[in-house]
């Protein structure tokens, strides 16, 4: 029964992209925060927007969430136009913002009940649904605690649970792990990975952490309000260059000469190991074992990172690309909304 239903829903979702942006622009006076972006996110996909602070990630996400009105262009979320069908879009999305948006003086349950009522989740479903989402993020035991007693990571988890409460078609995560320590960050990611398996939801996230972009099915690299590249993390990395392979063998000099003769690879000693560059390093390793004829003690394949990808497309590292604090303030729509 459930399986059939899920199948129907999945087929229905596959018919149209979960998110579609068509030449989307946003200017604040002179400042062009987003300068025409196009992309499609398929239903069920995890799509990441990767870029430095101030690149236009938050502005794009707030246009998709109907918080900011695009200056030009068009966007559809869950099949609804973000300008003309604002209410429909809002009903079908879940949001987790950079900063916490919980009421510290309410308990976890009260925060979620507030959300359930605001979104009109049917009374008969609220209790079960509340328990489900809180169990998913491991906070069911803390449901009666005031949110202000929660750590940063717990608050973020509760927000993810709240974002899912009304079964959104698309879950937007704006820098879901910013400001959290590395251990908490990896916990948050395991929750996100888990929820993807359990809920039929498309995830759209922004991040400026290179390592987090790897959790995505597809990523778009955004810089200065434009998408400079968009593909799977693997393809993007492959487009950058070859893998670096490091070997320890029982006979290093002989290995270097055989690599040159049999494989046409130029290897050299580097920090005590044999190092060389090759396409598809992981697929090359089995061949190496089969054909080298020398005992291999250890192998290390280092793939190009998304840092390398960003560098390749923008000519800068993501750290260098971070804009100054004041520009950041001007581009962040939330700060703008506050200062009005």
């Amino acid at each position: 029964m459930t399986v059939v239903e899920k199948g129907v829903v999945a087929a229905e979702l596959r018919a149209e992209p979960a998110v579609l942006a068509d030449d989307l622009h946003k200017s604040y006076g002179e400042l062009e925060a987003v300068r025409g972006v196009d992309f499609e996110v398929a239903a069920g996909e995890t799509f990441g927007f990767l870029g430095p602070n101030g690149a236009g990630k938050s502005t794009t996400i707030s246009m998709l969430c109907t918080i900011t009105r695009p200056t030009a262009g068009r966007a559809l979320v869950a099949g609804f136009d973000v300008v003309r069908e604002q209410a429909q879009v809002r009903r079908h999305i879940g949001l987790v913002f950079q900063d916490t948006t919980l009421d510290d003086y309410l308990t976890a349950t009260e925060n979620l009940s507030f959300h359930a009522e605001l979104y009109g989740v049917p009374k008969s479903q609220v209790r079960d649904r509340l328990q489900q989402v809180m169990e998913m993020v491991g906070l069911w035991d803390r449901r009666t605690s005031l949110v202000r007693t929660f750590s940063g990571g717990m608050k973020r988890r509760l927000e993810i649970a709240r974002g899912l409460l009304h079964s959104p078609r698309v879950l937007f995560l704006d820098e879901p792990t910013v400001g959290l320590d590395p251990q908490t960050r990896s916990h948050i990611w395991s929750y996100i990975t888990e929820l993807k398996k359990r809920e039929n939801v498309t995830i759209f996230l922004t991040t400026h952490y290179m390592d987090e972009a790897e959790y995505c099915d597809r990523i778009a690299i955004i810089d200065n309000g434009l998408i400079v590249a968009s593909d799977t993390p693997e393809a993007l990395k492959a487009s950058v260059g070859q893998d670096r392979v490091e070997l320890h063998t029982s006979d290093d000099p002989e290995t270097i000469s055989r690599l040159a003769v049999r494989f046409g690879l130029e290897a050299k000693m580097s920090e005590g190991s044999v190092a060389f560059f090759v396409d598809q390093g992981e697929e090359f390793v089995p061949r190496l074992f089969a054909e080298l004829g020398i005992r291999i003690l250890s192998v290390r394949v280092a793939r190009p990172t998304l840092d390398d990808v960003f560098m390749n497309y923008t000519g800068r590292t993501i750290r260098d690309a971070e804009v100054t604090g004041s520009d950041k303030l001007r581009q962040n729509p939330w700060m703008r909304a506050r200062s009005r």
């Binding site: 209410a87 079908h92 009260e110 605001l118 049917p122």
Partner: protein
């Protein structure tokens, strides 16, 4: 455990989310209102501290000023102060409740409300009703002290005052929400207190009678909207106590425009109109999107 999980699974089917009909509007208003009440009832310290001020005014200032008005041994200045202190209580509580929007903005919760699939006006109305309810509860607590300052517990007076307080607190909360929409920092709350709340309080006739005033002060007190709320409060209280006519005229002159003394119903109607205007203004402020 696994069996329990199995049982839970069917509920994973997507929940249906409601539309934008009148029932949805009502639900949104109620949930915002409920949150205000939960927050109020949870913060007992706030209830106590916000009651401390009116109590000080009533018993310390009221007692201290009593000897100055010694025309009659039958009258206590605290009785005069009582309706003014009711006005003060709801003024401060209403504005404080409304200003919590600034906190909500600062701490992000406002965003959770603004992105919800509900009409913006329902959030504003819920907030105003919540603030009005909280202020009326505080006012009712002070009203319970009537007996200690020589005001009899007349059911008619209590009902009249409760009704007037609810209406006034709604108007004041709406006024505060309208201001809060334009305020971005919690620090600005101090400014609102200095430039709006205290002048409104001092000019309203809450702590001294608005009779025989110098012309400039008389004009200012007529401009103060709160004067038109304190006057009906006082009329309700003074209808319950016997006073020589000249003293009653001095202490409870009512509001007048030229030679026309405004009837209570007119003042109440003014507050009602002000409440609607403020509510409309507050809703307009929040209807804007970037």
């Amino acid at each position: 455990m696994a069996a329990a999980n199995q049982r839970m699974m069917p509920a994973l089917a997507p929940v249906r989310v409601a539309g934008n009909g009148p029932a949805d509007d009502l639900r949104a208003i109620l949930v915002v209102w409920k949150r205000e009440l939960i927050r109020f009832l949870r913060n007992r310290l706030r209830i106590l501290t916000s009651l401390a001020q009116p109590v000080l005014f009533l018993y310390i200032l009221g007692t201290g000023l009593s000897p100055l008005i010694s025309q009659t041994e039958h009258f206590n200045f605290r009785t005069f102060m009582f309706p003014g202190v009711l006005g003060m209580t709801i003024l401060f509580t209403s504005i404080f409740s409304a200003m919590s929007i600034v906190w909500d903005r600062e701490f992000g919760f406002l965003r959770e409300m603004l992105v919800a699939p509900v009409h913006r006006w329902t959030l504003v109305l819920g907030k105003c009703l919540g603030g009005a309810t909280v202020a009326s509860i505080q006012g009712a607590i002070i009203l319970a002290l009537a007996g200690t300052v020589g005001v009899p517990y007349s059911p008619v007076m209590i009902l009249t005052l409760l009704g007037e307080m609810m209406l006034t607190s709604f108007a004041l909360t709406a006024f505060g929400v309208m201001l809060a929409a334009r305020i971005s920092q919690v620090e600005s709350f101090q400014m609102v207190t200095q430039f709006f709340v205290l002048p409104m309080f001092f000019l309203s006739g809450a702590i001294f009678p608005l009779s025989d005033l110098p012309a400039w002060l008389a004009v200012l007190s007529k401009i103060d909207p709160l004067s038109y709320a304190v006057a009906p409060f006082r009329a309700a209280v003074f209808s319950q106590i016997q006073l020589p006519a000249p003293l009653a005229r001095t202490l409870d002159p009512g509001m007048s425009w030229g030679s026309w003394v405004l009837p209570v119903w007119f003042e109440v109607a003014m507050i009602a109109v002000a409440a609607l205007v403020m509510l409309a203004a507050a809703m307009r402020q929040f209807a804007k999107t970037d």
